[in-house]
């Protein structure tokens, strides 16, 4: 029985959210796990919010509700925070500090939330929280998604082995981007949080 049945990927248009969910779907299919995905990306190309819910197992849809998400992968801190109501005390969260400042913040109509205090709160509330405060150098910003997924594979409840995800990446990525993508993924798998704090 899977511990992690529902995964939510949240971020901003252009961050590769749909691509990440495709990798997970592929991994599920390689593992013979029924999978279903629900995406909202109406105006994604115009900098809007994009979310992708993934359901694993029989009779599980990609739809999600309050306290219904077991693993949240946040590609943008504000959008991670926006998904808070979907988390529960046994949820796992991984998110990166790659900010995309919305117009309301630039125009000083709203303040970007304090992400460190949010991360601290999450750490106290959830089962496992990984906050990548600073992405290691040498990774193209467009591959932060794959890097984050790599690090996610080391989380306790992550439903797939890293090599299954790697196989899924190889199956879904175009030959041109394969090397870079796999490299970013592996960097994520091997990424040590200790190094970051040093």
């Amino acid at each position: 029985m899977l511990v992690c049945k529902k995964i939510l990927i949240a971020g901003v248009g252009g961050q590769g959210i749909v691509y990440l969910s495709n990798i997970i779907v592929e991994a599920a299919m390689l593992s013979n796990i029924p999978v279903s995905v629900s995406e909202i990306h109406g105006l994604s190309q115009r900098g809007g919010v994009v979310t992708s819910g993934i359901g694993l197992g029989e009779h599980t849809t990609g739809f999600y509700g309050t306290a219904g998400i077991d693993l949240l992968i946040g590609l943008e801190p504000l959008e991670t925070q926006r998904c808070l109501s979907y988390l529960h005390k046994n949820s796992c969260v991984i998110f990166g500090n790659y900010r995309v400042q919305p117009y309301s913040v630039n125009a000083q109509m709203a303040e970007y939330p304090d992400i460190n205090s949010f991360a601290k709160y999450l750490g106290e509330q959830c089962k496992e929280v990984v906050f990548i405060e600073k992405f290691p150098e040498g990774i193209d910003a467009v591959l932060f998604n794959v890097f984050l997924l790599g690090r996610a594979t080391r989380m306790k409840d992550f439903p797939f082995e890293a090599n299954k995800i790697e196989e899924a990446i190889i199956n879904t990525v175009t030959a041109y981007h394969k090397e870079k993508t796999v490299k970013a993924f592996k960097l994520g798998v091997e990424f040590e949080l200790k190094k970051q704090s040093a």
Partner: protein, 1111 residues
């Protein structure tokens, strides 16, 4: 994805042609066929994959849904099976075609896919397209999952072929955009040969319609329909342990099956899913209802369509059970369902809590969701639409006009959101041009006729804008239509359209030629990134009466046309010293209330765009540190009150300076390349209502932090008054001592009344009293008060006693009787007091070349036009210290100048006539003899030297260092007695301000130098340059006249790009704009947008460039 499943199923069903109009959430279906079509039509693929390309599936994005459906119907009548794809509102456009063909017949199968959008994720309404089934009497499927959709499409094709009717498959966003596992079958390669049968049904005439209607309804009762109804009405959960039933359809079934399974409640309820909803599966539903339930709950998104059918069946069959639906536990006809909603509904219906998995929400999570910044979609970085909107914003200032902008559907609809906010209406697709002409007619009849603007995207223009434009031309509407031609249908994912076909299989229609053909006379094509040229054309089109059209043509950033032009070796940088920093004063706490004028002041940006002459602000500095740039831009904006306030931010005398300032700010360039600040100051300060309102400086005094320090100012001339003005606004207590009986000093006594209206000056000076400054008149230094006493009693003293003792020439004093001579100051004072000390018709010799000499000469002339005035000065015309303007006035008044001359000897003739011998100053040789009646010496002033016995003074009796006064550490000097800056009113004002800075430095650790120092310095080193007179600006043409200029400098309060442009690549960090190069598309428009000229292109250093990727 559901949409992919639909496309695959259509292929498996052997579809021959697909006709579509893009629209979320349906677009992916059409895109797949677009791709297939391109693939199959490529000659290289035809060679490589002959079996895949043998009978290509025809595909087109038709210009609109009506054409798509009409063409699909015709395609089917030609015996080729067709799929027609559109979003919910597309069906409205297509419905005319649907409603009649059902009475007739089709040929090969025709399936229509219509995608609804409950919750309006990306649509202008959430209409329930299920009504089209009963309305048009066609079979309709309503899948719950991608797998359902996949199967139903195939069934729909088969059914359509059998009953010769179009069949509709209706999905919703949550079906179309859900991914799930679907097992593919084989693609049907059956080749349908095109064929047309001359059937009577193809001719639809009234005589046949009644019979046709009966025939249509009969088709829905055929065996094949009934079989499918039965097959698609499924009991998904069955239990004999319950008296509760649910009938659901569409995505509701997915939600509840998940909820029931996850919570192990599958035996608590029986669930019937309706996959085919028209004709209504009456017998299947009746059978379900008869299972002995107490209650049946109907779950369907949007309208209670099925619920009503079920209630009818129950009523017709006298069934004794409760039917629940809309209204039960928060079930509404609006919005979409969600897991949370249906969980609540099931809990209430089944009367059990759904908390089996014990997922407990986080504590107080609501706190972290409060006030999160919203993230609305925005036009992309580099989007040409933003460029066009920005142009419109500058060309059509919305704050000041009642102009209506009618928008339309598409990416550019985002222009309605902040910061652009350039749309007043958005209706259904294609409405903009009709809206504009209709509004125009409304106003036209009420004599408030005005041009109305329609904004429409290029795709929408072809979809349904064109016919509206034809109507506008036909009815002679006065509208401007701006076509946002970004060379693609942007919003739905960059599909081709007739104006931008991109493929050889399509013929591209040139919008310009098309519109020329309509007879539109005012027709412009602009490149919105060429912002200057576009601005002119846009204005021209706006001014035209009749239909004018501007085609704003530049490619969407996703098109190769855009991408190929990006120079990746470049980056865009913002100079932090120019962005949001004040070029006027380092001390940002200085009053500068309106530098930036009203929040949406666009004048700075507009000036940058249209001005012929751009002048850096530091070329027109004011010694009193007035923000000339802010002043000028307020006037550009038409905000004259703010302009006056900007002057008063720094000094008291807006009207006085408007009258007599010698405008050092304008002196350093030629007359055509400076902003006429003085003239403008005069114009705005003369508006009495604004002039008399001193509430803002008063408020500053009131709000100032009290310093509890007292300052004595000696001398109530412009320097002393200015010092008091700054002091009192900084919280000091000020007492002014003045030897005369009123304030004003030299301006009051020595400037002839004809040069200015003194009442304004008096009013300005009087404001200080209102601000709490104390005046002690008739109090002279050295008589009633002593410097020692003041220095002791006050925290600081500012001496600004002026130089009111005229210098004289001994030769004249000793030779000429006192009745026939005087000095300039005495004369001007008597002139202002209207005393007549010169007999009319006299010849008067004025000696001196300074401003007093000119004032004296002009005053003497004013006394009596018969007076002949001669001015003798040692300087040449170009070196004389008097202001050239004044000299010019004097010359025009027939005052004679003898330059390079001095009085060698003089004597009194027998008849009392004065004989003066003038020699050349330079050559010391005889020049000429002059006979005159009166001599006035105007060779400058001095002060009583006894006052400064111990002080270092220069040859003009001026205190050498204005900030220290030897012997008294708390005494400072200002005005004429300080060295330099003695030439003018503005110099006096500046020196008063400078003395205040010195006082503040000594009393409150103020750390900034006097901010006007540079201009003051310039004033001293070059006190009297030649100046040509500018053509006068009159009030009426002020706005037009000054539009030629752009006086720019960086401003600390500028937020123009964020407030008005809002490119997502611009990020504001710590008050400064930065460009996020990961989002920037290098369009470079921000460079033109920044009024501070802070943004520029820069070549990326070689080592920063990543090595070229090897493919």
């Amino acid at each position: 994805m559901g949409n992919e499943g639909i496309a695959r199923a259509a292929l498996e069903a052997g579809v021959n042609g697909v006709f579509a109009y893009p629209g979320t959430p349906s677009t992916e279906i059409s895109e797949i066929f677009n791709h297939i079509n391109n693939f199959q039509n490529s000659p290289s693929n035809q060679e490589k994959y002959p079996e895949l390309t043998v009978d290509p599936v025809y595909f087109e994005f038709s210009i609109n849904e009506k054409i798509a459906l009409e063409k699909a119907i015709a395609f089917s009548i030609g015996n080729r099976s067709a799929l027609c794809v559109m979003k919910n509102v597309g069906m409205n456009v297509a419905s005319d075609a649907l409603m009649s063909v059902t009475y007739q017949t089709i040929g090969a199968p025709l399936v229509i896919v219509v995608c609804d959008d409950p919750g309006c994720h990306s649509s202008s309404n959430e209409q329930d397209s299920r009504y089209w089934g009963p309305l048009a009497s066609v079979p309709m499927f309503n899948p719950a999952t991608p797998a359902d959709a996949f199967e139903m499409i195939k069934e729909a094709f088969v059914l359509s072929g059998k009953i010769k009717l179009p069949v509709i498959v209706r999905t919703t966003t949550r079906v179309s955009h859900t991914r799930g596992i679907v097992t593919y079958g084989n693609i049907n390669n059956e080749n349908r040969i095109a064929n047309f049968d001359r059937l009577p049904e193809h001719i639809n005439i009234p005589a046949r319609t009644a019979a046709a209607h009966t025939r249509l309804l009969d088709k829905l009762k055929t065996e094949s329909v009934l079989a499918l109804l039965n097959q698609n009405t499924k009991v998904v959960l069955n239990s004999n342990k319950t008296k509760l039933g649910i009938i659901s359809s569409g995505v509701a079934t997915s939600y509840i099956t998940e909820l029931l399974h996850q919570n192990d409640f599958t035996e608590k309820v029986c669930v019937l899913d309706l996959g085919m909803i028209h004709p209504f599966p009456e017998s299947e539903v009746l059978a379900f209802l008869k299972k002995g339930f107490e209650k049946v709950l109907v779950l369907e998104e949007l309208d209670p369509l099925l619920e009503n059918c079920i209630r009818i069946i129950a009523q017709k069959n006298n069934l004794n059970l409760t039917i629940l639906g809309k209204g039960f536990s928060g079930l509404l006809s609006t919005g979409e369902f969600s897991i949370d909603l249906l969980k609540k509904v099931l809990e209430e219906y089944l009367e059990v809590p759904f908390n089996k998995n014990e997922n407990i929400p986080l504590d107080n999570f609501e706190k972290y969701l409060q006030n999160l910044p919203p993230r609305p979609p925005a036009l992309c970085a580099g989007c040409p639409h933003r460029a066009t909107f920005y142009l419109l914003k500058l060309a059509i200032p919305r704050e000041q006009s009642e102009l209506i902008l009618c928008g339309d559907i598409g990416c550019f609809g985002l222009g309605a959101l902040p910061p652009l906010k350039m749309l007043d209406t958005i209706n259904h697709m294609g409405m903009s041009i009709s809206m504009a002409q209709g509004l125009y007619e409304s106003f036209n009849s009420s004599e408030k006729g005005k041009k109305v603007v329609a904004l429409v995207g290029d795709g929408t223009f072809f979809h349904s804008g064109l016919s509206a434009l034809v109507n506008a031309v036909y009815t002679r509407a006065n509208i401007l239509v701006v076509i946002f031609d970004n060379r693609t249908t942007g919003m739905t994912g960059h599909q081709a359209h007739p104006g931008a076909s991109r493929l050889p299989k399509y013929h591209e229609i040139d919008i310009y030629s098309l519109l020329k053909g309509l007879g539109i006379e005012k027709l412009e094509v602009i490149n919105p990134f060429d912002i200057r040229e576009s601005f002119k054309k846009l204005n021209g089109a706006m001014e035209y009466t009749g239909v004018s059209v501007v085609i704003a043509k530049a490619p969407c950033i996703f098109l190769p046309d855009f991408k190929d032009k990006i120079d990746k070796k470049m980056q865009i940088v913002v100079d932090p010293n120019l962005c949001n920093s004040c070029a006027n004063h380092e001390d940002v706490s200085l009053a500068c209330s309106r530098c930036y004028a009203p929040k949406n002041n666009l004048s700075r940006a507009k000036a940058k765009l249209i001005a012929e002459i751009s002048i850096p602000g530091d070329e027109q500095l004011c010694p009193a540190n007035i923000c000339n740039h802010g002043f000028f831009n307020s006037i550009l904006e038409g905000d004259y009150k703010s302009a006056v306030e900007i002057v008063r931010d720094k000094m008291l005398f807006a009207r006085t300076c408007g009258a007599i300032c010698h405008r050092p700010c304008e002196l350093f360039s030629n007359e055509n390349s400076v902003v006429p600040i003085k003239k403008l100051k005069h114009l705005v300060a003369e508006i009495d209502q604004n002039f008399r309102d001193f509430s803002i400086p008063m408020k500053r005094v009131k709000n100032a932090v009290k310093k509890n320090k007292t300052i004595a100012v000696v001398g109530a001339g412009p320097a002393g008054l200015s010092a008091a003005y700054d002091l009192v606004q900084n919280g000091y207590e000020v007492t002014i001592f003045e030897k005369e009986n009123k304030a004003g000093g030299m301006v009051t006594f020595a400037i002839p009344d004809f040069r200015m209206d003194k009442t304004g000056y008096d009013y300005e000076a009087m404001q200080l009293e209102e601000m709490g400054v104390k005046f002690q008149f008739n109090t002279s230094l050295g008589k009633e008060i002593s410097l020692e006493k003041l220095a002791k009693e006050f925290d600081s003293v500012i001496l600004s006693i002026g130089m009111n003792k005229s210098k004289t020439i001994d030769l004249i004093d000793s030779t000429i009787p006192s009745a026939k001579r005087t000095d300039a100051l005495s004369f001007l004072k008597s002139f202002n007091l209207k005393e007549e000390i010169i007999k009319p018709g006299s010849t008067v010799l004025v000696i001196g070349g300074g401003n007093s000499a000119i004032d004296t000469a002009r005053s003497a002339k004013k006394l009596n036009v018969l007076n002949k005035i001669i001015v003798s000065c040692i300087e040449t015309e170009s070196t004389m210290p008097a202001f050239a303007e004044e000299v010019k006035h004097a010359s025009e008044e027939d005052i004679e100048f003898i330059h390079d001359s001095f009085v060698e000897t003089c004597s009194v003739g027998k008849d009392g006539e004065l004989n003066v011998v003038l020699h050349s100053h330079e050559k010391k040789t005889f020049l000429q003899n002059i006979k005159c009646d009166f001599i006035i010496t105007a060779i400058g002033q001095t002060t009583d030297p006894s006052l400064f016995a111990q002080i270092q003074i220069d040859e003009n009796q001026r205190v050498k260092s204005e900030n220290s006064f030897t012997g008294y550490e708390n005494v400072f000097v200002a005005g004429d007695i300080s060295s330099g800056n003695n030439m003018s009113v503005i110099g006096a004002i500046a020196s008063g301000k400078k003395a205040v800075v010195a006082v503040r430095k000594s009393l409150e650790n103020y750390k900034y130098a006097y901010e006007g120092e540079m201009a003051l310095e310039r004033l001293n080193t070059n006190p009297a340059p030649t100046l040509h007179l500018r053509k006068a600006i009159v009030d009426d043409d002020i706005q037009v006249e000054i539009e030629r200029y752009n006086l720019f400098q960086s401003c600390q309060k500028c937020n123009h790009c964020i407030d008005n442009f809002g490119c997502p690549a611009m990020v504001k960090v710590n008050g400064k704009v930065q460009i996020d190069m990961s989002r920037c598309n290098l369009c470079g428009l921000c460079i033109d947008v920044c009024p501070n000229n802070a943004i520029r292109f820069e070549v990326i250093e070689e080592e920063e460039l990543e090595p070229e990727e090897i493919i």
